[in-house]
Symmetry: D2
Subunit: 353 residues, 4 copies
Amino acid sequence: MGTSQKNTRMRSKNSFASDNTSTACPQVMDAVVAANSGIVQSYGDDEYSLRLQTTMSEIFETPVTVFPTVSGTASNALALSAITPSFGKIYCHGLAHINNDECGAPEFFSGGAKLVDVAGENGKFNAETLDATIDGRDVVHNSQPACVSITQACETGMVYQTHEITAIAATAHEHRLKVHMDGARFANALVTLDVSPAEMTWKSGVDVLSLGATKNGCLAAEAVVFFKPELVGQFSYLHKRAGQLLSKMRFVSAQLEAYVADDIWLRNAQHANKMAARLSAALAELPGIELAYPTQSNEVFVRLSDSVMRELRDGGFDVNVEELDGSAARFVTAWNTQESEVDELVKVACRTR
Amino acid sequence: MGTSQKNTRMRSKNSFASDNTSTACPQVMDAVVAANSGIVQSYGDDEYSLRLQTTMSEIFETPVTVFPTVSGTASNALALSAITPSFGKIYCHGLAHINNDECGAPEFFSGGAKLVDVAGENGKFNAETLDATIDGRDVVHNSQPACVSITQACETGMVYQTHEITAIAATAHEHRLKVHMDGARFANALVTLDVSPAEMTWKSGVDVLSLGATKNGCLAAEAVVFFKPELVGQFSYLHKRAGQLLSKMRFVSAQLEAYVADDIWLRNAQHANKMAARLSAALAELPGIELAYPTQSNEVFVRLSDSVMRELRDGGFDVNVEELDGSAARFVTAWNTQESEVDELVKVACRTR
Amino acid sequence: MGTSQKNTRMRSKNSFASDNTSTACPQVMDAVVAANSGIVQSYGDDEYSLRLQTTMSEIFETPVTVFPTVSGTASNALALSAITPSFGKIYCHGLAHINNDECGAPEFFSGGAKLVDVAGENGKFNAETLDATIDGRDVVHNSQPACVSITQACETGMVYQTHEITAIAATAHEHRLKVHMDGARFANALVTLDVSPAEMTWKSGVDVLSLGATKNGCLAAEAVVFFKPELVGQFSYLHKRAGQLLSKMRFVSAQLEAYVADDIWLRNAQHANKMAARLSAALAELPGIELAYPTQSNEVFVRLSDSVMRELRDGGFDVNVEELDGSAARFVTAWNTQESEVDELVKVACRTR
Amino acid sequence: MGTSQKNTRMRSKNSFASDNTSTACPQVMDAVVAANSGIVQSYGDDEYSLRLQTTMSEIFETPVTVFPTVSGTASNALALSAITPSFGKIYCHGLAHINNDECGAPEFFSGGAKLVDVAGENGKFNAETLDATIDGRDVVHNSQPACVSITQACETGMVYQTHEITAIAATAHEHRLKVHMDGARFANALVTLDVSPAEMTWKSGVDVLSLGATKNGCLAAEAVVFFKPELVGQFSYLHKRAGQLLSKMRFVSAQLEAYVADDIWLRNAQHANKMAARLSAALAELPGIELAYPTQSNEVFVRLSDSVMRELRDGGFDVNVEELDGSAARFVTAWNTQESEVDELVKVACRTR
């Protein structure tokens, strides 16, 4: 392990604000450093990017087509634009990141698609509600049903079970919709379900995946993964035109390669989830704190009494009441969250006792 | 200097295909490794990104607003979309990268702008031709003149003199056009002119700059630089929506900071230019080789006889006849091109003697 | 009155399907015929179009800027695109025509705006709910609040009172949103409220109006009306680029001129509303029929028992259960609906007694 | 013939400014008046619009799919957007209306397509030049070749011979491009060539036609005509979303039906062309006047000496030096231009003798 690891231990009290505030894990950083060698082709024709196709096909146990990107927003918006015409409807949960946190990127990349809320408890919707929500097919006055997008793990930190994904995808396909998965926290969901990447995606009916890696230990690495060659179409041009086909793509592909090698992604996610479980269990015991959602991945949502919130803020923690539902505070753990950090947060939250 | 430098020496015979095929320079890579430490705010609110505003304002000797990106295509398209309405005209040379090599990104990001060729020798146009080309102002049937874009150094490797930029910008401003500079090889032009960054930009009338850094020693780091606060407008939203506001932005900002520190960018560019000059001078002496354009930065364009081309290809060099003008072959030098590499290329090209 | 009137009496039993299925009124048709004379300037520089600015300014008792169009969809989408950036949010009722029946035109014309549902009973929302719904201002990850759109008369046929419009507009302006009114059935609402066009629009805080005329007696004539010169901006180019600046614009402007002359629009609307009131009152008395919404303009929404629906269909009426709320059937009256037609419909609906 | 004809005789001296300044012909106006009768389905499901499919299929001697519109700009932009992806290239002559006079509508409707000039004399290009211009296929950095558009009659008033169209279309198809014809003055070209509509379009390889009718005697009626069912795709939604699917579509379809009935369109065009020929022949004889292009349809382009131009202006003629090539003045004749008007123009132009 190289020198790149040395500084990743220092953490402030703001560690729980987001998994985006954390560093890259040493294995990924080492891979970036190692990739900084020799002349290679630019714009994704390098050996790292070419090899990534094979690696990901092995990971997903089927031939996939992978387009590395450096942004979750771009991944989602690009993937959606590949399966949605400019007059299309994208069905998603009202809390979905694509609906709330991407400044209209899906609308922009698709040329005007409409995001339609599918209602559901706890950030998840089910096949029945989706079925009841889809409308307007073949009516010239209506934006046309095009695809459904689920977030895994979803915005509340909860996870779709594979049978739930399967049911949603079956309903979608009956309605001739494509199925997109926003996998910003894909690995966190994977280790929760303890299933294979294949089982959580194409075997359950997912057509296109936005595979997140940045939050779970990369510097800036995401990927759009197509499970059906016929959906790729002319995606290369969309990818290039969006400025996501980097000139020195080796540095992104090398991250992704290291990320999935030796189960790094799974181990990172397992650790993050374990820290979230520890935090969740401890907070749930405290007075003035109520879990907003069951903790199923690396996000803990709690409703806090005013006094607990004051203590936490006085204690230096940056407690934001999430816009998610206007009342729950979010604490996110990462691949390198320390038990001691969790315990300190709990200790401060205890003070109001 | 860290371990990140160790592998940057190995080069294949394809070294001259593009400066995008080269590695990052050690100072930049070290900065990335160093940035991988501690919790910092995400999405550009980190200390690296905040500090970059100051650093760049010092570099440019005026308060600038900087938006880091990871793609030259996105930088250009975003910058242009900030100064061009969806029904606007962007005046540029017919050979311009924005016109030929970005798969329609400027049209896409702007929502439909039209790129209009301005004629000119050797990849450059002048103020008079621009003046004669601008038309349609206030005619409702015409896309509206909105901005002019010049590439510095331009696509033939030649460099606009500051008085030329000043004249073009003055003409543009007379016509109420904004002035954009595509600075993919900004540093290479800067050292050629031996002027300050301020002189080559806002002092000459440039309003918005796409500052390239990737080609000249970064991994993936570019920036949109606004010289006039009133032009920034709501650019933050365009930046975010395009997927160029990275969640772990520190890794981009750290590159840019290291890049301009200690004159790294200038030294990298000086070296690349020097190697190009050496190559150009040597090739110009050879039979069967003719310089297509004067060599003014780090690109050498030559017209080759069939036998020279054969020798080079047999010698393992990947000689592409550029699409630029259908006949000239391009050789690009980089921050780390070795004299020995130049000399070997020349030696092989000599064999037909 | 010319020959153009002669054929407007014949009506089938489908008369209540929509006000779009009716003819143009004789005064408007005569104006079109009269405009078919002499050479006039094209593309809106004709005397009819120029005069229309004055006429409309008189009608609205303030200097307005008017852009004639031929489509309500285009009117709305164009108007919204003038006051919404591509990353903007348009607040509207979930039932709004712009949200459901324009195949994504607002999203397309704006380059990706997001339509956000504001909840409310009976197709109307109020200022408080709007206030509570507006969010995301100045958050870079969110589409930005840009405007609010109300439909007058709204999709259930109900009408916003001027004090309701005033309150909504005040809330919108407090949040720096612009106020758009979709006036597809503007005249119908106007005569219901018995207020002036000025009172129902700019005096109540409306910034931009899509003035409908086609449904109420024109062939194909709508207009975008700006009440604030500073909002017009470069709308001319949007108008032209959308294909709504007709080459022989005289034929549209002449319709609009005739439409508002001699209170034709008010008289047409009064008649349509009166017929709707007659129908509504009669149907409300019948068993198996329940009014879905109070009848306030020229649309009657009723929930029908299966037997009533069967009778109506057997009787030759094209009863569509509206998609509006999945259960109510819509009957629309027009400027030329006859009492006898209303009475026949009621008679057939009575048969189940 | 109805009263609608009565006023079409009066003409000012500006008669030659454009064919858009003229009235509708009586047969078309009568059809509009006749269509103003009875209840019909809205949004193109009326009997007029349905019948139009058959009528046009007979006119073109093959089953066609027709979408009526009211704007040539919208027709062109919609047709092009059906055969061009958002990252596509549209090849056209530099003088093409779609390139110069539609305020970027093709770019807007397509979501960012690039118009590429194909060089050629007199406003026409040929197959060889097209072949040499097409480039970038399958290069991810380039906008992708998608279609070619020719204007018939073209912007100089000259007409493509069928063998020229056939050669261009064959070249286009070899390159996997679709072929669009901008037929703003379709009938004028048709009578010049004296061929059938089929011969000038699909039999020569045209895939999609923008059929103009407004200039040649309609009020506002154009159509997008697809000759290959497989190209129609989801055009209905594009058509609706653009605001070109009018609610009372009967009034557009009725115009088109009358326009092609009884050879009205051909007779109108023959007359206009004959008047242009008369004007052209007379002017060519005069000193200080030089034909800029051979007169082949209903447009006459002449270069005028200063004194002739002065006489014409003094004589009340609105002589605009066309932007077409910066020096030629355009005189356009219409379906109802009188011999006396032609002769008066010639007489005034003679005065400098």
